[in-house]
């Protein structure tokens, strides 16, 4: 069995010549792609937008979709629309429908929704079924209420359930990256350990190859129930033991364990073997089932609205005094806002770029320029705009003894100088919940796409 990973992230691109190589293969069984991540931050989940670009996502899909549908190779998409809430799934569904229409395609699509209700999470919290994943984020009913979208990150179970219905496309909400590739392998008899290990390495596309690239394809061949072989379709890349083994540790806390909703893969005894100068065979990964399965849930809540102003400073004295000057600015703004806004309603931050690295020898007067961002987050956009404008104008003209560049302290690269960034979201939920059934948060629909 052969499984193809389209790229590390739908919308980040892949090389057409790699797809041409794949099209010449006669034994491709599944094509998968991950389409989301929490790495770009909580804003996209909170706002219901994708961090990937619509045109780029459409390009990546329209090259492969007609081929996959015509050849009856199921195309599996995980964490649709970047964050995998209902609105993100819908966003991707519309793109798929447009491609189907333009190419006169007709096929069945399984849609797995994995968004959960606030009541679902509150119920888990009340019953002591919520677990923290790290310090700094306590789950409260208040925060649950503040979340705009809450998603559950599902594992292989719902994918396997959907695959049983033999859809042409699976479009899934928030899911483990591994589940996209492990599900078809497990369904066809592969052991869960090697299936998860294989999926973990290939989910970033050709990031496990040399030269590495998330923006290219990877092909995995399931040799038997215990082993798989990775080989990039792009002839200008190779897989080596070193790259493949090194990629196993990418983006996760421990290189020997991969945690999944129903247990963990144990890679301590994994065996890597170069079967050619560009293919690596991997075997001997175990899976340890857990007694109490869990699903990770993620929720983002509104934290305010942001306005920023970007500027450069070239005067060495101003640079050396910037922190003190900014304190003057903050006091001035507090005075100006008296009676207009509560100090709790806005936060002023100064972000500095070009500051000396720790341990480096700094001359008293730096011989370089500094970039700054005046960063204001407030309860309303209007308040953020007002506070940022006051900070910007005051910092521009703050005087100090010995000041030489007295016509203005800041070089603004843009007019307008102040940029509205809109709503700011923060993670309110990033927790594990105990589940009775690994499919309890999934709703699977089978729809007809195209004429």
């Amino acid at each position: 069995m052969k499984i193809v990973s389209l790229c590390g992230m739908l919308g980040y691109g892949y090389e057409k010549k790699s797809l041409d190589v794949v099209k010449k293969m006669t034994d491709v069984d599944y094509i998968g792609t991950d389409a989301g991540s929490t790495d770009p931050g909580p804003c996209y989940l909170g706002a219901g937008k994708s961090f990937t670009n619509r045109n780029a996502v459409k390009r990546d899909l329209e090259l492969v979709l007609p081929y996959a549908v015509q050849k009856k190779i199921p195309l599996i998409i995980g964490t649709a629309g970047g964050s995998g809430a209902g609105v993100h799934v819908q966003w991707t569904r519309t793109i798929i429908e447009e491609i189907a229409q333009a190419n006169h395609l007709s096929f069945t699509m399984a849609i797995i929704e994995t968004e959960v209700t606030k009541e679902y999470v509150k119920e888990k919290l009340r019953n002591g079924k919520v677990h923290e994943m790290g310090p700094g984020l306590k789950l409260t009913e208040e925060n649950i209420d503040k979340c705009t979208h809450i998603v559950s990150q599902i594992g292989v179970g719902p994918f396997i359930e959907a695959l049983k219905h033999k859809p042409d496309v699976i479009l899934c909400g928030r899911s483990c990256d591994t589940a996209i590739y492990a599900a078809p392998a497990i369904m066809n008899g592969m052991e869960e350990g090697p299936a998860i290990h294989m999926a973990k390495i290939m989910e970033c596309g050709a990031l496990c190859a040399e030269p590495m690239a998330a923006a290219d394809m990877m092909v995995a061949t399931v040799n038997d129930k215990d082993s798989f072989t990775l080989e990039p379709p792009n002839p200008s890349r190779i897989c080596t033991i070193n790259r493949v083994a090194a990629h196993t540790m990418y983006e996760q806390g421990n290189p020997y364990f991969i945690y999944e909703p129903d247990g963990h893969a144990d890679l301590r005894e994994a065996h890597y073997e170069a079967v050619s100068d560009r293919a690596v065979k991997v075997s001997n990964c175990k899976f340890v089932k857990v007694k109490q399965p869990t699903l990770k849930i993620e929720g983002a809540m509104l934290a305010g609205y942001r306005t920023i102003s970007i500027a450069g400073i070239n005067d060495p004295v101003t640079i050396s005094k910037i922190d003190d000057l900014f304190e003057i600015v903050k006091k001035f703004v507090a005075g100006q806002m008296e009676g207009k806004a509560n100090p709790q309603e806005y936060t002023i931050m100064l972000k500095k770029f070009g500051t000396p690295l720790p341990g480096s020898v700094v001359p008293e007067l730096p011989d370089c320029n500094m970039g700054i961002v005046i960063d204001v987050v407030a309860k309303t956009q209007e308040l953020a705009n007002t506070v940022c404008a006051l900070c910007r104008s005051r910092l521009l003209h703050t005087d100090y003894p010995g000041r030489k560049s007295s016509a203005g302290n800041l070089a603004f690269p843009y007019s307008p100088s102040d940029i509205e960034c809109g709503a700011v979201y923060v993670f309110g939920i990033y927790h594990l919940v105990d589940v009775d059934d690994l499919l309890e948060t999934s709703k699977i629909d089978y729809v007809k796409v195209g004429a």
């Binding site: 806390g253 290189p255 942001r306 923060v426």
Partner: protein
């Protein structure tokens, strides 16, 4: 001779491992460089904790011998995307580690 980790490792990278943690990979060119660091007893939880200003109990160090690598995971200074965050992907958090001196 004391050398910075940054000068010994061929890869020294950081990245979010979820929005609450940042994980750092040190990959060495060969077993010799890897063992120099591993056996130096310098790259301890205490040393990493001190470099990042956090408790040593929060530092997780795993030696990944098969690819001459070391993985270090610590909690993020603030949750990814919080209003006081300055590195959402966590991929530029390697500097304090890079500056640790190894005999």
């Amino acid at each position: 001779m004391m050398e910075k980790l940054n000068d010994i490792a061929v890869i020294l990278r950081s990245k979010n491992a979820g929005p609450l943690s940042v994980t750092m990979d040190l990959i060495f060119k060969d077993k010799k460089d890897f063992l120099r660091v591993k056996n130096s007893n310098t790259l301890t939880q205490q040393a990493v904790g001190k470099a990042y200003g956090i408790s040593s109990k929060m530092v997780d160090i795993v030696y990944y011998d098969i690819v001459n690598s070391i993985k270090i995971t610590i909690p993020r200074r603030t949750i990814s995307g919080n209003i006081d965050d300055d590195d959402v992907y966590g991929c530029q958090q390697q500097l304090p580690l890079a500056n640790i001196l190894i005999p």
